[in-house]
């Protein structure tokens, strides 16, 4: 029997008169959960609520059995088991990478200097920055800074890791390395990843949640999510009629998501991206039009 790492019950969030998250109930067990959704869908809001960075407008959140929405002691107890990577990180550029993570380790109650320094070295090695520990942050590349920000989320092997677009700025090799790290955590804890990279979800996640306009549109295994698009993806010499999205592939054929197939068009296995585009519906068309 698996124990839920986080339980959200009818959690909603508003910023003034703007509703960012409609009442939402979720139970997060062990494994990697992918959070998909267009910009402004409420992904970051949901993650910040999970990470206790802000209180919900209504509803309750419990992490590792501690009520985030309860007393300060409960909230602090919950924070001890959470590692969080925000979408944007403002670095003190004059600091060294080691000093950056070391200070955050102090904020995470690593009071013993020796064990703290060993832990900081461990997480820097984990993200491949072990040889950059004495470098000033201003000398790091964008990808290295992203990895540095990521490293602090792994301090103390937290039971719940919440990552807001962790792969932004990472090259393919670094992304593969991150997948390895996150998948190794899947057996013992919960990792929630908000991303626009659908291939990351396909490669890494056991479960996917699609959030649109502050509402959960889909919540289930990745396989089930992909299955929603099976039979709706076509490859042929031209785009299908009424397609949600279509593009010319490297082989010269046109891949169409949704729509009615015409002559010469053959069904092809769906991907997470196809399912996502279909689920977004007209928003996908709008997005494609905007790109065009």
């Amino acid at each position: 029997m698996t124990t839920a790492t986080a339980v959200l019950t009818e959690v909603a969030k508003s910023y003034g008169s703007t509703r960012a998250l409609e009442p939402t109930s979720l139970t997060l067990g062990t494994g990697v959960v992918g959070l998909l959704g267009p910009n402004g869908a409420g992904k970051s809001t949901l993650l910040r609520l999970l990470a206790t960075s802000m209180p919900p407008s209504s509803g309750t959140i419990a992490v590792a059995g501690h009520a985030v929405t309860g007393t300060m002691a409960e909230r602090t107890a919950a924070r001890r088991v959470i590692g969080y990577l925000p979408q944007e990180v403002g670095f003190p550029r004059g600091m060294t990478t080691f000093a950056f993570v070391d200070y955050i380790a102090v904020l995470k109650e690593w009071t013993d200097r020796g064990s703290r320094h060993r832990e900081v070295d461990r997480v820097l090695d984990l993200v491949g920055l072990g040889d950059r520990r004495t470098k000033r942050i201003r000398t790091l590349s964008g990808g290295q800074r992203r990895r540095l920000a990521l490293s602090q989320a792994f301090l103390g092997d937290p039971r719940l890791i919440v990552l807001d677009e962790p792969t932004t700025g990472l090259d393919p090799e670094q992304r593969a390395s991150l997948r390895t790290i996150l998948s190794s955590r899947a057996g013992s804890g919960t990792v929630v990843v908000a991303t626009h990279q659908t291939e990351d979800v396909a490669a890494l996640c056991d479960r996917v949640i699609v959030l649109v306009d502050g509402r959960v549109l889909f919540d289930g295994p990745v396989g089930e999510f992909i299955a929603t698009a099976e039979g709706s993806v076509w490859v042929g010499p031209s785009a299908t009629d009424g397609h949600r999205a279509s593009w010319r592939t490297g082989t010269g054929s046109i891949r169409s998501v949704g729509g009615r197939p015409g002559p010469g068009q053959a069904p092809t296995p769906a991907t997470v991206e196809d399912a996502y585009l279909l689920m977004l519906g007209d928003r996908a068309l709008t997005a494609q039009g905007a790109v065009a």
């Binding site: 925000p86 990180v89 200070y103 904020l107 995470k108 109650e109």
Partner: protein, 302 residues
């Protein structure tokens, strides 16, 4: 739902509390801050050793040295440290050590400039007590060493805490680019206006966190004549300390997370105490402005 345990995670296996550990970190960061070190060097360089034949007057006026180099510089140092701490905490989202503990740890770092101020105070007091009071200087009349030493303590030592505490309050409530520089300029202008130069403000000048109790204000025909202003520097020291405590509480109050009830009560108590102490500083001690009967060397004699 389980009840939250107050115990720390297994990793924090030594006896130091997270707040105390963070305070030590902030003290170290303050002590290594380049602006603080520049201020410290300038304080040492300008706090000269006594010269033969030197009188007490100049030592009473040297309070400007720590007030400027440790207090005003400290405002900017503390603002920088607080903003940096905020950025680091934001990078981790919501670490278990919250904003209130971080604020308290930053406030603890005030021990660095205050220690430097106390060293300056000890040095200056022993020089002051070891030199003569000239008949045409400060203090005179019924005012003695207690008045002079209290003045040195209030303006020389407490200002070393007051500047950084103000920096902490600004960083917590008005975190804007350039705000610390603007605050320094405003503070200097306001302080200059409230030094007792302007006659109607002489009585209420003690509400300012830096003001003279005696100086070369001059009289007609003697622009350098020493004058002692009204008020009690002893109560003024207590008032400034209360202002510093109030500043820390105001900074702590910025954290919106409950509970804040005790903090509100403490704010009310300390604010009331500060007002009472300010009134005492205003209404006790020297009651009338006193002019040294001995003319200065600049007097235009008939």
């Amino acid at each position: 739902m389980t009840t939250a345990t107050a115990t720390l995670p297994a990793r924090a296996h030594n006896t130091t509390s997270p707040g105390a550990r963070l305070a030590m970190v902030e003290i170290g960061r303050y002590a290594r801050n380049p602006l603080f070190l520049v201020g410290l060097i300038l304080t040492v360089l300008t706090t000269a050793a006594p010269e033969p034949g030197e009188t007490r007057n100049s030592h009473l006026l040297t309070v400007l040295i720590p007030a400027l180099f440790l207090g005003i510089f400290g405002l900017m140092v503390m603002y920088q440290l607080t903003r940096r701490s905020d950025r680091l905490a934001a990078a981790a989202g919501s670490p278990s050590v919250g904003m209130r503990t971080r604020t308290a740890a930053l406030a603890a770092a005030v021990v660095v400039p205050v220690t430097a101020g106390l060293v300056w105070f000890a040095w200056t007091v022993q020089i002051y007590l070891g030199t003569d009071t000239p008949a045409d200087g400060l203090p005179f009349g019924g005012v003695g060493d207690s008045w002079a030493i209290s003045t040195l303590f209030a303006l020389g030592v407490v200002s070393c805490a007051g500047g950084p505490v103000l920096g902490l309050v600004l960083a917590r409530w008005f975190p804007r680019r350039g705000i610390s520089v603007i605050a320094v300029i405003v503070l200097i202008i306001a302080t200059v206006l409230m030094q007792g130069i302007i006659e109607p403000l002489r009585y209420i000048r003690v509400i300012m966190p830096f003001t003279w109790f005696g100086n070369q204000y001059g009289v007609e025909g003697d622009p350098e004549r020493y004058v002692i202003l009204t008020g009690s520097p002893q109560w003024y020291s207590a008032y400034l300390i209360a202002l510093c405590v109030l500043g820390v509480l105001v900074a702590l109050y910025r954290d919106p997370e409950p509970p804040r009830r005790n903090l509100r009560i403490a704010l009310g108590v300390v604010a009331t105490a500060a007002m009472v102490l300010c009134l005492l500083a205003m209404t006790t001690g020297v009651q009338e402005v006193m002019v040294n009967p001995i003319p200065s060397a600049f007097a235009v004699l008939p």
